[in-house]
């Protein structure tokens, strides 16, 4: 779960990390009121879960209320790489002596938190990593031992931060690590981490990704989920507890098991088709889940054909067939379906489908054959 900038900052602030004072606003009037309260100059920042919004016009500085209104008006409702801006964050403009970069990522290869620090903040870190990898100090933290004071010193000296903020940077990184562990994040990134002329450290931006699997332990974070920013199909799927990812194409896909669904997308693409979604019905899906999944797939207006690719293990093919029959009764789809049922109770499932004589539903005996057929039908 990706947090919006202001949510991330509030999270950091809970762990003692200094962030600029700010307020969130969803309308021009709210933005103007917030700006008046914060004072000028202030920054008006689009709240979208995407990088590079500054270059795309999503961050503007307002010197007075008129400008605050103007900028909020321009930014609210703006489309930034496919995401609509529903909120802006108004915060006091910070004075900047230096811009650093600090982050902690969940490093799967090393099986440890990876802490990164660089004095080349304010830039895209991937670019820094490519051009001047020696400008980034890195360190893995053992999860049982945790972040130690010497870790902070080592990173600060290796990155070459100014001598007078070594101690402050160490304390900042310790607080960032506490945030990472206690909030169960997969990523916490502060870019830029600003050194003010008064030599204080301030997190000027915040990018936080939380572990969805851990949200049950953090009810206050679970509530942060910004459903308004999500795609309507994805929201609908989430409400139905289905694993769904929207894609750009026109062929709806349903399968059981993440690996098989990914493989199905690949095979469809090999046959020249463009999948409209990833949808994993999960292990042991019952008829109702299949019906709900069909609804989600068809709620995407771009879908011109649907492929069911089921290899039953725990999932029983007769349950899938029953779910599809039920879905047809409820929804009466007007696009063609290709259905491949194999594995547990495969023949029973195929018999049920045949008997139901659903309109425009085509059987296929292999994944390859099914993919070829659905690509043909989608045209």
């Amino acid at each position: 779960m990706d947090l919006l900038e202001y949510q991330g900052k509030q999270l950091l602030a809970r762990h003692g990390i200094p962030v600029p004072r700010g307020k969130v606003a969803a309308t021009i009037d709210e933005a103007a009121a917030a700006a008046n309260e914060i004072g000028y100059a202030c920054a008006v920042k689009a709240q979208v879960q995407i990088g590079g919004r500054g270059k795309l016009g999503g961050i503007k500085i307002a010197g007075d209320e008129a400008q605050a209104r103007e900028h909020a008006g321009a930014i609210l409702g703006m489309d930034i790489r496919g995401l609509t801006v529903h909120e802006v964050w108004i915060e006091g403009a910070s004075e900047i002596a230096s811009e650093y970069y600090a982050s902690i990522v969940f490093d799967r290869s090393a099986k440890a938190a990876l802490v990164m620090l660089s004095t080349r903040g304010g830039m895209d870190i991937e670019q820094v990593a490519e051009e001047t990898p020696e400008a980034i100090a890195t360190l893995h933290v053992d999860p049982l031992l945790g972040f130690q004071p010497f870790h902070g010193r080592r990173l600060a000296y290796e990155a070459g931060v100014d001598a007078d903020v070594v101690r402050g940077v160490g304390a900042f990184l310790a607080a960032l690590y506490a945030t990472f562990v206690e909030e169960e994040a997969m990523l916490v990134e502060v870019n830029p981490l600003v050194v003010t002329p008064e030599r204080a450290l301030v997190a000027l931006d915040a990018k936080v990704t939380l572990d969805d699997n851990a949200l049950y332990r953090h009810p206050e974070n679970a509530e942060l989920r910004d459903l308004s920013a999500e795609d309507p199909q994805e929201r609908m799927a989430k409400e139905r507890h289905l694993t769904y990812v929207k894609l750009d194409g026109d062929i709806g896909i349903l399968g059981n098991g993440a690996g098989l669904v990914m493989s199905t997308l690949d095979v469809v693409a090999q046959h020249g088709g463009a999948p409209a979604n990833f949808l994993d019905a999960g292990g042991g899906a019952k008829a109702e889940a299949i019906t709900a999944a069909v609804e989600v797939i068809l709620s995407n207006p771009k879908v011109t054909a649907v492929l069911f690719n089921i290899f039953g293990g725990i999932t029983r093919c007769d349950e899938v067939a029953r779910g599809l029959i039920e879905a047809f009764e409820q929804i009466r789809p007007d696009v063609p379906f290709v259905v491949r049922l194999d594995g547990t109770n495969g023949s029973l499932g195929r018999e049920l489908l045949e008997a139901a004589k659903l309109p425009n539903v085509h059987g296929a005996s292999t994944m390859d054959e099914a993919a070829a057929l659905v690509v043909e039908l989608a045209k």
Partner: protein, 290 residues
């Protein structure tokens, strides 16, 4: 021979009194797995169709000499159950539970890697099947027959698909190991490939990977340096967009890292043949063993 589970497996099922736990415990027993005990705190003294239930793993091990654990408890309790099993001296732990928090997995992984910890398979995996010997987990054993192809996979259903295609070509498996789709798998491709390399029954290894992480790339390096047996690979997710979690918590392309193309390229650079579809993988295996 086989790897991870076999006729010497003495299984203790954590969460055996739950609906899923009892269903699969009994299913595994029906296959021939020696299911000797179950653990559910507060239900010690009961039994599940003759399988005795204990309050703790310590008791279960003391009374039943269990050497392998299957974890079937819900995510909030799974990490604790894994740690309890290793504390009780269990040598092999197979964790089926999906949805364990990543930081829990990290702590468990680190703790188990300290001297003397158990081998962990999973979590979020379908388990391990050694056809004709033992089945621990949820792999539908009917699609697999005994043979000499070792399979290691991050995905359950994709494994069934590959196994089924092999069976249709008359080929069988030494063992099928699902390492799971989570960010911190207890055992990696490398760990399991090393077991297959040492297993006299295994003649060829199939590894089925997917996007995310570096496990496939590490396996490619390891294979080049240490594996004498032929390896055939499959990678799912060529068309997955970056930044989206594709069902498995671990299946996510981050920026330019963890793409299927990069993984396939790494494997092919080290002489591993990569099939583009499950069917092609089965065809390659059949041609190499034919």
């Amino acid at each position: 021979m086989s790897v991870v589970v076999d006729r010497d497996t003495r299984l203790c099922v954590s969460g055996i009194t739950g609906r899923e736990g009892s269903f699969h415990a009994l299913n595994n027993r029906r296959y021939g797995t020696n299911v000797v005990a179950g653990v559910t705190p507060g239900k010690g003294g009961q039994d599940v169709e003759g399988i005795p239930v204990f309050n703790t793993f310590r008791e279960a091990v003391a009374e039943s000499a269990a050497n392998t654990a299957m974890i079937f408890v819900p995510p909030p309790f799974a990490a604790d159950s894994i740690l309890e099993a290793t504390d009780a001296g269990i040598a092999t732990i197979i964790a089926i539970t999906e949805g364990i928090p990543a930081h829990d997995e990290l702590r468990v992984y680190t703790e188990l890697r300290r001297a003397g910890g158990a081998r962990l398979i999973g979590p979020n995996c379908p388990g391990v099947l050694s056809p004709g010997k033992a089945n621990v987990g949820i792999i539908p054993a009917d699609f697999f027959r005994e043979g000499n192809v070792g399979v290691v996979s991050r995905s359950g259903t994709l494994t069934y698909q590959v196994g089924n295609e092999l069976a249709q070509r008359g080929l069988g498996n030494s063992s099928i190991v699902g390492i799971g789709g989570d960010p911190v798998p207890g055992s990696s491709f490398v760990d399991i490939i090393a077991l297959f390399e040492a297993d006299p029954e295994t003649e060829l290894i199939v590894m089925s990977g997917e996007i995310g992480g570096q496990g496939e790339e590490e396996a490619a390096d390891y294979i080049a340096a240490n594996v004498s047996k032929p390896v055939v690979a499959y990678i799912a997710g060529f068309t997955a967009p970056p930044g989206k979690t594709m069902g498995h918590a671990g299946a996510i392309v981050s920026g330019t890292h963890g793409t299927a193309a990069a993984k396939a390229a790494a494997l092919e650079a080290h002489g591993v043949r990569v099939g583009r579809t499950p069917t092609e993988v089965a065809d390659i295996v059949a041609s190499m063993l034919g």
